[in-house]
Subunit: 158 residues, 2 copies
Amino acid sequence: MNEIEVFRKYVKESGLRNTPEREVIIEEIFLTHDHFDVDTLYLCLKNKKCSISKASIYRTIPLLIESGLIKEVFFEDGHMHYEHVLGHEHHCHFRCLGCGKIIEFKQDEVLDIEKKFSRSHGFEVTGHKLELFGYCRECLKKEGKDCKVSIVDRVNPN
Amino acid sequence: MNEIEVFRKYVKESGLRNTPEREVIIEEIFLTHDHFDVDTLYLCLKNKKCSISKASIYRTIPLLIESGLIKEVFFEDGHMHYEHVLGHEHHCHFRCLGCGKIIEFKQDEVLDIEKKFSRSHGFEVTGHKLELFGYCRECLKKEGKDCKVSIVDRVNPN
DNA sequence: ATTATTATTGAGAATCTATTGCAATAATAA
DNA sequence: TTATTATTGCAATAGATTCTCAATAATAAT
Ligand SMILES: [Mn+2]
Ligand SMILES: [Mn+2]
Ligand SMILES: [Zn+2]
Ligand SMILES: [Zn+2]
C-alpha cells in the first residue's frame, strides 16, 4: 500500500472525505523524498497551476501525521518542516552551516547511547534526535562562500 | 572572571554601554543554572518588580551568545530556549514526554559518530545536538499522570 | 437520480510570537 | 557641562499558524 492509498484508507476510516485538494497535496508531497515546509509546498502547487489554499495545506498536515505518513522535523529557522515516514527508516541529519543543506545518515551507535542512559537512570527511552552540523565539502572549498544547492531539501534556508 | 564580568568586558570592548537593564537581565539569568526562555525570564523579572521590556531582553540575548555566555538549545515548542556555556561542559539532553523535565547527561560516544560521519563524507563536523526522549522514573510510576516538578528547567512545558 | 447531511474549501480575519522603528532617555567621552 | 550616540520601552510590523464563516461539494439516504 503506497502513501496515497494509506491516506485514502485513513480518511475513509476516520469518517472524513476524500477531496481533489487533498489528492493534489499528497501527490505533490510524495512525488519526491524531500523534506518540505508549508510555504514551499504552497508555492510549488501555485506554480503548477493547481493552487490550493494554505489553509487546506495546514489542515491536511495533521491528517498526514496522524496517518503515520509524515512527521515534523525541526530545523530551527522559524517554521516547521516535515519529512516522510512510510518507507523511511529513522535517520539523523547533518546540517551545513554554510549553505543550509541537509544530509541524512543512519547511525546505530545512538541506540547504544540510548540503552546506556536508560540503564543508568532507570528511564524509558523511546527515541532520540541527533543533528550534526558543520561544513559540507562544497562549502569547505568555497571557504565561507554561499552555495544554494540543496540535496535532500528543496527548501531554501535563509 | 564570572559571567557578569565577562559580559561587562565584552560590552566595553565592543563599544557598547553597560546599563542597569542589562545588569538586571544577566543577574537573573546566571542566578541559577537552569535553562530559560525569553518569556519565562520576562515574567520572572516582572514578578520581582524589576520589569524589563521584552525588546531589551531580545536585544541582550545575541550579546550573551556572542560573548560566549549562553547558547541556543531547543526550539521544539515553537520558541528558543537557552542554556549557560561558561563553566558548563557540552552535554546532551533527555526530555521526559510525561512531565517535560529535562535531564542533562554527558556522552562521549557522540564524538565517535561525528568522526565517522566526517571521514565518510569529507565534511567538517563542528558540533552536534543529541536529544533523547521518553519517560522518567516518576512518570513511569504514575503511568501517564502529569507531574509538574522540573529538575534543571524552570520552564513549564505546555 | 434526487435530496439531505455535513465535511471541506478558500479568503480573510485573528492570534501569537519574534523582530524592528522611533522618539525619549541616559551612558560615556569630550 | 555638553555633545554624542547607544539603549530603552512602546508600538508597529512581520511571519507562521489557526480560526471564522459562507459557499461548495462529497457521501449517504431516499
Ligand atoms: Mn530527514
Ligand atoms: Mn542543558
Ligand atoms: Zn554547504
Ligand atoms: Zn517525567
